[in-house]
């Protein structure tokens, strides 16, 4: 997995609440069997008109936001389906961090699996960052220090230690868990005795 240490750049403002995963990447793009190539379809219905032409005033279609690595968005970002195509498309577009007041659980988790840092801030801080993004002020996100800098705003954020460590080191989660394989097998042996109907494998 890609590592994440720090990030610098102009953030794109998307002041809409409840941005769901259908908005992030509509269903017609879920037919792929690959993880890559979804960036052009990110926010498809907001980004393109019925004929597939770019909608010029949508934020990610305008310079400098078309190069943004950071997204500042309204509350409850990523609600809806479990599709990991949502973080895949964000990442393929180049977005490595999303800032909001809250995230849906599955989306939040999916981000970390893909080297994307979702950051939760207070409503006041979100307002400040949204304004800074609109004014094209440069953001710096520093994961080791857990701060966002934008102009004269300096905002601390929380992140669970294990998630931070995994992002910093780009760790392979499955590899780590397979280190506990003995424990998993011991668990299964124990349950085979206690709950045999669960192992009536047919």
């Amino acid at each position: 997995m890609d590592k994440f240490h720090s990030l610098k750049g102009i953030a794109a403002p998307l002041p809409i609440v409840n941005i769901d995963t259908d908005m992030i990447i509509p269903k017609q793009f879920l037919k792929t069997i690959k993880r890559t190539g979804l960036g052009v379809s990110l926010f498809y219905e907001m980004r393109y008109d019925n004929d597939g032409n770019l909608i010029k005033d949508f934020v990610l279609n305008t310079s400098p936001y078309d190069q943004s690595k950071i997204l500042v968005a309204g509350d409850n970002f990523g609600c809806g389906s479990s599709r990991e195509h949502a973080p895949w498309s964000l990442k393929d577009f180049g977005i490595r961090s999303v800032i909001s007041t809250s995230f849906a659980d599955i989306f939040y988790n999916n981000c970390f699996q893909n080297g994307i840092l979702p950051i939760v801030v207070s409503p006041e801080n979100l307002d400040q960052l949204m304004t800074a993004a609109k004014n094209q002020i440069e953001f710096t996100i520093d994961l080791p220090e857990q701060v966002i800098k934008a102009g004269n705003h300096l905002i601390k954020f929380e992140i669970e230690d294990f998630r931070k460590e995994r992002l910093l080191q780009g760790l392979d989660d499955i590899g780590i868990t397979l280190g506990y394989k003995d424990k998993i097998i011991a668990y299964e042996e124990d349950k085979k005795n206690k709950k045999p109907w669960l192992f009536k494998d047919n």
Binding site: L30, C79, S81, I106, Q113, E165, I176, T177, I184, W197
Partner: protein, 469 residues
């Protein structure tokens, strides 16, 4: 969450499945059953291949294609990409020795319909699937939740998942349900009350006499939409209704283990004095048949109500979001809900695509015709639901009324297959999401119960089942 003292249903399942703690402080939770479908699994199997990892316990996984399958002309999937995806699932499951219900198998259907139908879903289990509506299985008192594709790969490789415990929330609904009000209205009402982020970080346990009085199918409708309330999972205590439902199904415990299983299942309900981080109590008499007016499942109103006015919103953000929804939905504030004219009716999905739903619809539309300006489609949740309905003559009643009768699948719940709304078309839908573009670009969705959708099909407007004769 402590190990001593009274426990909730969630706490009990959680501690029973803890394999241990990893060095990074995270918990490894054992997964009893893993359900796999074609859309969120190809990249997971590819990941296994790249790192040369086997599937740890293939027998614990069941696969089916549902999201992307046509509901007519099954033999030939026209969309080449859909076809590749379905074929990829067939190939991957074969390669790893995973049981797969293919498109011609009568057991094929929506993954959350077939789990319970086959008796795969049982109390006290942990169940995951690369799909957010995995919460459906919580109706059996199983801890069931949706996961992303990377986690699908993790479960395939290790039969565990990395998780931290959720918070406990209990929503109790008490009292007899008023006439015309059923499980779909209940859950829509709850989502309207707590909001789409109301359950974030929580597992919601539904309790109270109204909930426990529901059939298993009604309970599934409730738990299904837990995710629309932002919750990680929904749970309902298993009871005799649950056991009766499971008994005798193909994957249910056989006679040799049945009593032992029931004894264990009976120990699962939350202890009386268990502690919840959050409690909500609802009196069922306050609930009407509900309909969504907007583009979020929390945008609900009584079918007797009107489209809200943005100026009545409490915050500026809320006002903007109502305005945006109304513009998308093509609705004016103050419009009576029953004055909203429909183009399409969709009955189906993992929320309301089961036999009881079909029976209700049939009883309402029997000897009637759908309005001439609407197109109505009914998509059974599984091949077996379809078969059952045909045996009961339900298909005939529906077809006579003017409904299209389809093969099983997700269909227009998400419109990945050819079943889609056209821009501006307005649909009464028994599914679970009314997001912008969900049923097709520019399509306008009104979520409601099968009863309301059936009545609305006949009148051509959104209709209150209580006025319907």
């Amino acid at each position: 969450m402590s190990n001593q003292g009274p426990k909730t249903l969630f706490d009990k399942i959680w501690s029973e499945h803890l394999v241990g703690q990893r060095e990074d402080g995270t918990n490894l939770l054992y997964i009893d059953r893993h359900l796999v479908h074609e859309v969120t699994s190809p990249q997971a199997f590819e990941g296994l291949k790249i790192s040369n990892r086997p599937v740890h316990r293939p027998e614990a996984t069941i696969a089916v294609a549902d999201h992307n399958v046509p509901t007519i002309n099954r033999q030939n999937i026209e969309d080449p990409q859909s076809k590749i995806q379905v074929e990829t699932l067939a190939k991957n499951t074969k390669e790893h020795g995973i049981q797969y219900f293919d498109l011609m198998d009568q057991r094929q259907g929506i993954v959350h319909i077939i789990g319970p139908e086959q008796g795969i879903t049982q109390p006290g289990m942990t169940i995951v699937c690369g799909d957010s509506h995995t919460s459906t299985h919580g109706a059996f008192g199983a801890l069931a939740f949706g996961i992303g594709t990377s986690e699908v790969e993790h479960v395939l490789a290790t039969q565990t998942i990395v998780q931290n415990p959720a918070k406990n929330m209990r929503i109790s609904v008490n009292g007899e349900l008023p006439f015309g009000v059923n499980s779909k209205d209940l859950i829509l009402y709850i989502i309207g009350k707590i909001g789409t982020a109301g359950g974030t970080g929580h597992v919601i346990e539904y309790a109270g006499s109204s909930i426990m009085g529901l059939s298993m199918e009604g309970r599934m409708t409730i738990c299904n939409m837990s995710i629309e309330a932002g919750a990680r999972a929904g749970l309902i205590s298993p009871d005799q209704t649950t056991f009766n439902y499971i008994k005798g199904r193909p994957y249910a415990p056989g006679t040799e283990h049945w009593d032992q299983a029931v004894e264990y299942w009976s120990s699962l309900p939350s202890d009386n004095d268990a502690n919840y981080d959050h409690e909500i109590v609802i009196d069922s008499s306050e609930i009407d048949p509900m309909v969504t007016w907007g583009t979020s499942p929390e945008d609900v109103v009584s079918v007797k109500g009107t489209v809200p006015n943005p100026s009545s919103a409490k915050t500026e953000n809320k006002k903007k979001s109502i305005e945006r929804s109304l513009e998308y939905m093509g609705l004016k504030p103050g419009t009576k809900i029953t004055d909203i004219k429909l183009d399409k009716i969709f009955i189906g999905s993992c929320t309301n695509g089961r036999i009881e739903d079909l029976r209700k619809v049939a009883s309402i539309v029997k000897d009637k015709k759908i309005a001439s300006h609407v197109q109505a489609m009914i998509v059974p949740g599984s091949g077996l639901v379809k078969k059952q309905a045909e045996e009961e003559g339900i298909d005939k009643i529906l077809k006579d009324a003017g409904f299209e009768w389809r093969e099983a699948g997700c269909s227009m719940c998400l419109g990945m297959n050819p079943d889609q709304l056209k821009p501006g078309e307005r649909c009464a839908s028994t599914s679970n999401r009314n997001f912008e573009g969900r049923q097709g670009r520019g399509g306008r969705t009104h979520l409601m119960s099968p009863e309301l959708a059936a009545a609305s099909a006949i009148t051509g407007n959104i209709s209150d089942i209580r006025d319907f004769t």
